[in-house]
């Protein structure tokens, strides 16, 4: 029985080391890789085998003892726990234990399902370029709409294309920080678009590649969200949903983006019915009813197919 034991120990060690080495990896995601999953499955299988082998061994020992008429000493379980358990009413005991376990698991599952599954609040992946909103939006006070230029026209605010970056970074190289060399992060832009920073010219026939940013705010496909609706019509500030973006060195998901969060805002916020002719009729009705403002919800903002279609 020595050989399997060694193997088990070795495998466990291997799994552990690989797990740790894995977690040290500078991954762009906080989630695992499939090899890791495979190793876990493998270790579970091995553990199952060792349990099985242990069971066989125990049975063999018992059989051996019976054959040799040796009376085994009662184990700790038989001495201490068994008498207590035997004193219980088995039905009630089972129900209580099962009930407690179910309740615990259920509560855990509910909480997990509501707050964890698909909710990525705080998600701050490492991006291909360490772009700092703190510098651009905070320090230099650039307007959000300079880069996210479609936010007033379209459902997506859109990530700027490289030529937008190049509007400034053709000249801005942050060279003072890097001993007169182009900053390595800005160099990434040049490498993608094909710009020779030293000679200040675009390289002809360069195989341009877009920057593959990692998407932070992921709404499920079943929800329709339109930036222009909120920014232009609703006059919502970017920071209301995206948080103190001008202070973020690395962008993270500020709001939880759950439906309850949407609904809460729709219940509270008023619409600007006074300055928008679209709401003329609604505004008149509001005045007739003697109200100060109409909330989004009163204007139908809680109806399902305003967002789900």
């Amino acid at each position: 029985m020595n050989v399997p034991k060694t193997q088990i120990v070795l495998t466990t060690l291997f799994v552990l080391t690989s797990t740790f080495s894995h977690s040290n990896n500078n991954m762009s995601s906080f989630y695992s890789e499939s090899t890791f999953l495979a190793l876990i499955i493998l270790s579970i299988v091995l553990i199952a085998i060792s349990v099985l082998l242990y069971g066989i061994k125990r049975h063999l020992t018992v059989l051996n003892n019976e054959k040799n008429k040796q009376v085994a000493e009662p184990s700790l379980y038989e001495r201490k726990f068994r008498p207590i358990i035997e004193a219980w009413n088995p039905t009630i005991a089972t129900l209580i234990i099962a009930g407690a376990v179910m309740l615990f698991l259920g509560a855990f599952g509910y909480k997990f399902g509501m707050e964890e599954v698909g909710v990525q609040q705080g998600y701050a992946p490492t991006q291909p370029i360490n772009f700092s909103h703190k510098i651009h939006a905070g320090q230099y006070e650039m307007d959000c709409k300079y880069c996210h230029s479609t936010v007033e026209k379209s459902k997506s605010a859109s990530i700027p294309s490289l030529n937008t970056c190049m509007n400034c970074h053709k000249y801005v190289k942050a060279a003072e920080k890097y001993n007169g060399k182009t900053s390595p992060e800005i160099q990434k832009i040049y490498n993608a678009i094909g710009f020779d920073g030293d000679n200040m010219e675009y390289i002809e026939g360069y195989d341009q590649k877009p920057i593959e940013w990692i998407r932070i705010h992921n709404l499920p496909d079943l929800a329709y969200f339109n930036h222009s609706q909120h920014v232009v019509v609703g006059k919502v500030e970017c920071q209301t949903c995206h948080g103190p973006i001008e202070e973020m060195e690395k962008v993270y998901q500020y709001s939880n983006l759950q439906m309850g969060w949407c609904i809460d805002c729709h219940r509270e916020r008023g619409i600007d019915s006074e300055n928008n002719d679209y709401y003329e009729e609604a505004h008149k009705n509001m005045l007739a009813e003697g109200k100060d403002y109409i909330t989004v919800a009163e204007n139908g903002g809680l109806e399902c197919s305003k967002c789900h279609y």
Binding site: S28, S29, Y31, S32, L37, G118, Q120, P125, T150, E152, K153, S154, K155, S156, S158, I159, P160, S161, L162, N163, T164, A192, I193, Q208, K209, P210, I211, E212, W213, I214, R215, N218, P220, D221, L222, Y224, N226, S228, Q229, V232, V233, N275, N276, D277, Y278, Y279, E280, E281, A282, N285, G300, E303, C304, S305, K306, H308, Y309
Partner: protein, 1030 residues
Amino acid sequence: MSSNNYWKGLEELDQTQEFVSSNANEFSEGLPLEQVFSNEDSSRANRRDFLKYFGFGLGAVTLAACNKTPIKKAIPYVEKPDHVTPGVPLYYASSSISDYVGHPILVKVREGRPIKFEPNSDAKFFGCGLDGLAHSAILSLYDTTRIKGPIKQGKRKPIKWSEADKYIIDNLDKVAAKNKSIAIVTRNNTSLLLNQSITKFKAKYPNTSVIPYEAITSSGILRANEKSFGKAVIPTYHFDKAKLIVSFGADFLGTWLNAGKARSDYAQNRKPDGDMSRHYQFESLMTLSGANSDVRLPMRSNQTGLHLLKLYNILTKGSDSEGLELPGNHINKIAKELKDSRGKSVVLCGSNNIHDQIITNAINLELGNYDDIIDLENHYNGNSIDEKVFLEFVEDAKQEKYGAVIFVDSNPQYSFADFDNILNKIEFKVSNSIIDDETSRMCDIIAPNTHPLESWDIKQPYKGKYVFSQPTISPVFDGRNTSTSFAKWADENIDTKNKFSYDYEALKTLVSNEIGRDFNKLIEKGFFEKEALTASTPSFLANVNDSINNVKSRKKTSKELVLYQKLGVKDGSFANNPWAHEMPDPVTKVTWDNYLTVSKPDADELKLVDNNVALIEVKGQQIELPVIVQPGQVKGSFGIALGYGRKYAESVKNDMQNLGTNVYPLVGYANNTNSYVIDDEIKIISTGREYELARTQTHNSIEGRDIVREASLEEYRKDPKLRKVNKHHNLVTLWQEYDYSKGHHWAKVIDLNTCNGCSACVVSCSIENNVPIVGRDEVRRRREMHWLRIDRYYSFEALEDKDLKMSIVHGGDRSIKKGDQLSKEKVMETYSKEVGNFDYYQYVSTVHQPMMCQHCDNAPCETVCPVLATTHSSEGLNQMTYNRCIGTKYCANNCPYKVRRFNWFRYNENEKFDYHFSNDLGKMVINPDVTVRSRGVMEKCSMCVQKIQAAKLVAKREGRKLKTDEFTVACAQTCSSDSIVFGDLNDPNSKVSKLYKKYRAYHVIEELGTKPSIKYLTKIRNKKQTTNHS
């Protein structure tokens, strides 16, 4: 006559055992509960097995759920084009793909991907709307069977364009050196760009001839016009000006000539409040035109000539002196009416026989219908192919006169019998096909064309009318426009590195020479119309007597086989398209297959019923096809649709690979033209086998409810309120009333009078709303997903018509009184008394009714949903929230209109449904604004809520009110006859609120108190000549 008994099919009329039993059940298949719970068979699952599977399933699901959250990327442009705003669609004017001669359309493009075609509403002359095939043709861009780049046959090796050009030029030079001819086999080509390049090509290879080829021709009309008027052209018909339309077998609303324009023009004249036209249709098979006619009269197709002759005789000589024996006296009556509406009528003939067409021309000339209604001067350029040229080519090729052939979009290997023998006699064969079709597989090299959506073009569908195409997507594959290819082969020095530049420059020069306006403005508009030419009435040059003698000398056969085209597939050139196949045929409601249509008396005689497989023996060829017994079809006529039985690449594994039977080999040849009516010896027997056709028609029954309403124009004029038909109910409601008068209240009005059932809306809706294609087998299980269906109802209403009855019965007594319930028994009783063995099935009349979610204000579906997944909006919409739906199907059971569809599978990720939805290329057509539904949820018409929201948002952003009828929904937008009107009921100026108040408007099953937001307008048939005429 709301008292009509409507029925959906013969089985409902006859109340067959099968129908009654299947109709008693809500679902087509019972649940296999008994099997599961029976203990008899121990091999079946028992409790322990259940626990095992349950446990395993739970474990498996848990494991499967442990999937890591995928990392999503957001990839911006490197350099964003100025005009592109991600998330906002762009519209480009272009030309329809399925309409090969050119038809203006708009292409909706999202982030560089064309996702939908929309009609170009400015191009009124070309006909409003698009048909179902035109919509579905967008899938041809995202077809996985497309040729990826030049391919050299043999080993099917992909090569570079430079190699391909060298190979082709070398071989063409060899052929030229041998003094053999080169043939360019085109289709009905109206592209000026291509013609220009071919001219260049001809300059280098003078021994080149252009051979136009179409699978289906109308050369009978061309030749007749040449003989009659000296112009071998297809005239432009102006149905909007015709007050009286008499068609002899011409399905002008379906597939005859330019049906798109016909549907649109015809509907303009079908408004009962104005001067409504009258339409007589003589025909053998039940066609779309017959279904929409005011009076439909039976006529075997091989008797078209005789009917025309009789009409001609009566018109010219006052009476039918020839003594032609045709049943009934309709023609006398029609002749009189035609005379009364001189110059405002049109007589059409669907036969491809030159003599029939010459007599038709003589009749129309006699009636003064040229040039106002039949315009020979501003003629149509489609259907203008004479097969003579191709047949000469075939003869020459047999004698090995041709050394090379280049196929341009044409595919004769599929539609021309024994073409491979001819191809084998030609040394060098090139194809420009963009898909792996029958002909290209036989060629030495494929130099693939670009898809029409990837190329520049100018087409001339009518004389003096131009349609432009522009690239709407950067090429998906490595194709090259054929006009560039020809230019390159003519002149090797042309730079083709940029595949657009040559075409673009050539087009610019062409346009400035031909039209001479601002190029960019023309491209933006998409079409250009030169001023129409005026012409005087032509003089008649032909000898009618020759034609009369020809008609009289024809042999009289009692059986005929009519080869027709179906609206969804047409000639089969775009048959590689699952959307087109899933669109139910407007008449038979069959999807996915072709079949033999048989009249009821013939079916009884041959002992055939629906879905029996019949063996058809014609001209020594045997074909097996399933049978449809078609009400309205004439005894002795049998019909089969062309365009089926295409053979695709082996990679196509779904229903597309196995699509009906190719009947092109049966096409006859008589009087130097193709003949689609075969009256040789036809033998039809039952094989005793069954093949279940996927038919949507009898899914759900109307159970005698008051759903369709129709009346005659006479009744309508007498009582515009149609009190006899439109019964309104005063109902007490249990629901709490909601005030919809604030804000918007979206609604639709559907005019049953102009709806011709063409089903374009069905396809348009599917594309707009990402409705999955389910395939033949699922349709058989009643699981089609179409949010909008078109119900087709038959009735014996026509038999109630006094004149018709008199003409059938020859003076029998009038035992059918007005308002009698015209049940089958009543008709049988009456007519058998009067005319003995009478085929009343020939005299059915048809109503088409588009049916979608009615968005009831008191919706029965909403009250039964246990999870509130379907709710009502303040704007009157019945909302369906997929992510809340748990799939109990209570709502579908409680919906009186049966418009809810249950999504059974994940069609977008399921290999079994290998249509466009499940591959990466095909997914490009998905509308990003609409959820792709997963399995297990209910779905239904949302009244295109995404379009409503988008239009509202634009108005809000601009700080203005919504303009009246500023936007419309997908079905209404594509309707060529403007039958579906969408709008805001709370806007007093909107079209819909005006139509809503019409007397003809009614709610379907109003008595239930559901208060639908959709109203229908009663169908009005103009059956009788009104008193002021006679």
